[in-house]
């Protein structure tokens, strides 16, 4: 993804890697509330933000944490919060306000088993919530899903840039395994990209007319116009920020579609089935919204079948079906409740779906 020859890799868990990348990306304020399996991130920020002289607050709730993010973002500073599924449900209020007020922020969800309190095992059950806006109102948030500790760090830099470029809350979606597993990673700030000037921040009105930040539009047609403007931004994001990775899909009859830790397992499955001579490939969405639907539609002209593999009972499969649009069958394999899928069961499922 990026070149770096000077820094030796160090061991990080996914949660810490996101924290370190956020600090290097210039995150000025972090607000969090304890919840497993993302506690390493809050602890990392408590230590490092203090060392850097930046703002760290353990908030009274996730409702408060996301509103603190709102305040810091309104002042034009890069701000982040993190949580896991039940806490991210509470953050939806603030995420909707951030979207309505066009404020940039980064929100991390190291998702766990649900619904309700569920458990603290890894899960991908928050796909719908993450990719459909999550809170009330007609909005979307970019969702970046890494599959390794290194990629989580890389995507954290990207998340802050996307948030600032489009003035939108941006999600990083991981799970209990990605958050806690340790891998070597090299975390250095990539070449800075040029971002639009923040000419909307509330920093006191010296030398300019007062500004306001709001999502309330009461006049006739005003809210409609505001929503159209947001939709225009979402269209641009859909056209320019789609990211995915494909593995041996060119000649594949069966294309697995998987993201995050599940894609990591599917990759191994593809290698093994290929050794047996079976024509299997993998398409891994890196952005869950915007979804790589063009890439999938393209593949649906050559592939005979898609298999959406998810750590849930079938959510992303809807998006695969929409992308394939009837060109070929789309099947689902997965289960959820805090248990990881095994390579063996995915292999078994893939074999069953291979055209005979």
């Amino acid at each position: 993804m990026k070149e770096n020859t000077t820094i030796e890799p160090a061991l990080f868990c996914g949660n810490e890697a996101i924290g370190e990348a956020a600090i290097q990306a210039g995150c000025r304020a972090y607000f969090g509330y304890p919840i497993t399996p993302q506690n390493e991130l809050t602890a990392y920020m408590a230590k490092r933000m203090g060392e850097e002289g930046r703002v760290f607050i353990q908030s009274e709730s996730e409702l408060a944490a996301i509103s603190m993010v709102f305040g810091a973002a309104a002042a034009g500073e890069r701000a982040m919060t993190s949580s896991s599924s039940p806490g991210v449900s509470l953050k939806q209020e603030g995420i909707s306000y951030l979207a309505g007020c066009e404020l940039p922020a980064v929100i991390v969800n190291m998702s766990r088993g649900g619904p309700g309190l569920g458990n603290i095992g890894p899960a991908q059950a928050d796909y719908y919530q993450s990719t459909r806006g999550g809170g009330h109102g007609d909005y979307r948030t970019p969702v970046l899903a890494g599959a390794s500790v290194q990629e989580l760090a890389d995507l954290t830099f990207l998340a802050f840039d996307i948030a600032d470029r489009y003035r939108t809350p941006t999600l990083i979606l991981g799970d209990g395994i990605l958050g806690q597993m340790m891998e070597p990673a090299v975390i250095t700030h990539p070449e800075p990209t040029e971002l639009p000037a923040k000419d909307w921040t509330l920093t006191g009105s010296r030398g300019r007319p007062p500004r306001s930040i709001k999502s309330l539009y009461l006049g006739p047609g005003e809210l409609e116009a505001h929503n159209r403007k947001l939709q225009e931004v979402y269209r641009t994001i859909s056209e320019t920020e789609v990211r995915w990775e494909s593995l041996m899909t060119e000649d594949a009859s069966l294309v697995l579609v998987a993201y995050g830790i599940t894609a990591r397992i599917c990759r191994e499955v593809v290698f093994r089935l290929r050794k047996e001579g079976l024509p299997v490939g993998l398409l891994r969405p890196i952005t869950l919204w915007p979804f790589p639907d063009k890439a999938i539609r393209e593949l649906s002209r050559t592939a005979e079948k898609f298999l959406s593999v998810e750590m849930n009972f079938g959510q992303m499969v809807d998006d695969v079906r929409l992308a394939v649009n009837g060109n070929c069958p789309v099947e689902f394999f997965g289960h959820g409740g805090g248990e990881i899928l095994t390579g063996a069961e995915i292999m078994e499922a893939a074999r069953g779906h291979l055209p005979r």
Binding site: R28, A29, F31, V55, I57, S59, E60, S61, L63, A64, A65, S67, M68, V69, F70, G71, A72, A73, A74, A75, E77, A79, E93, G94, Y97, C101, L202, T203, G204, S205, R206, G207, P210, R211, S212, I213, K214, S215, L216
Partner: protein, 250 residues
């Protein structure tokens, strides 16, 4: 002074925009807005002030104040203020909140902002009712008071007694200044202005959490004339919510 030599003794503060407000006749919000604007002018801090508007009748405060103002979700202004003030300690940050916003849905946020000793100013407009949504019972509604959701009068057995926010927050170590004033008479209004000025001055001088509660009339949902509303504050509300400086750590 104008060129003609006339002397102004009363004029619109610079911190208020020259626009009509949407407030009902006799509502207290306009007076509290004006007091805040006068105080900000007098302290010379207009250009470094950021206000946080509530969800409630004062939701449009950013259209009336002549300085930077942001929206916040219902009850969350103290958290938004915390985020803003922590990243920009040079700014003067205040929240403006009703009793539904501050004393019901936002109780966690106000208690923890107070307890952390956030260096912010909170203006708490207590009209004992949810104005914006049509006159429902608030945590501060008086016992026996009839509202849309307590049609037979507030019953303590069912709803508990009215919450005294100042007395609840004053014991927290993070609070430096807590005072309660009222808008029922010109004399009380002048005293209230003194409290509000002190609450802003504290922040200018780097002191911690300051809150001023203003007992404010809502003629529309009290179903009283503006004059009778003011009389009700003196006769019924002040006896339950005593006026004065409840805490001053200076």
């Amino acid at each position: 002074m104008k060129s003609g030599g006339e002397k102004f003794i009363y004029r619109r503060p610079e911190s208020l925009q020259d626009v009509p407000t949407h407030y009902c006749p006799g509502c207290g919000h306009g007076t509290v807005h004006r007091i805040i604007a006068e105080v900000i002018d007098e302290l010379g801090i207009r250009e470094r002030t950021v206000g946080i508007a509530p969800v409630g009748c004062a939701v449009l405060a950013y259209d009336y104040f002549n300085f930077d103002v942001t929206e916040a979700a219902h009850g969350r202004p103290p958290a938004v203020a915390t985020g803003l003030k922590r990243v920009r300690p040079d700014l003067i940050v205040f929240t403006y909140q009703g009793d539904g916003d501050l004393a019901a849905i936002g109780t966690a946020e106000i208690i923890h902002a107070a307890n952390r000793g956030e260096k912010i100013t909170v203006i708490f407009v207590n009209n004992g009712i949810y104005g914006m949504t049509g006159g429902q019972m608030a945590p501060t509604t008086l016992v026996g008071q009839a509202t849309a959701t307590s049609p037979r009068g507030r019953d303590c057995e069912e709803t508990g007694p009215p919450i005294k926010v100042c007395e609840m927050l004053a014991p927290l170590d993070g609070t430096d200044y807590i005072a309660r004033g009222a808008l029922d008479t010109p004399a009380h209004t002048r005293v209230l202005k003194g409290y509000i000025k002190k609450a802003f001055l504290n922040q200018v001088e780097g002191r911690r959490f300051s809150l001023v509660e203003a007992l404010s009339p809502c003629p529309t949902y009290w179903r009283l004339t503006p004059q009778d509303s003011l009389a009700r504050i003196g006769a019924e509300i002040i006896p339950h919510f005593p006026l004065g400086v409840i805490k001053d750590e200076e």
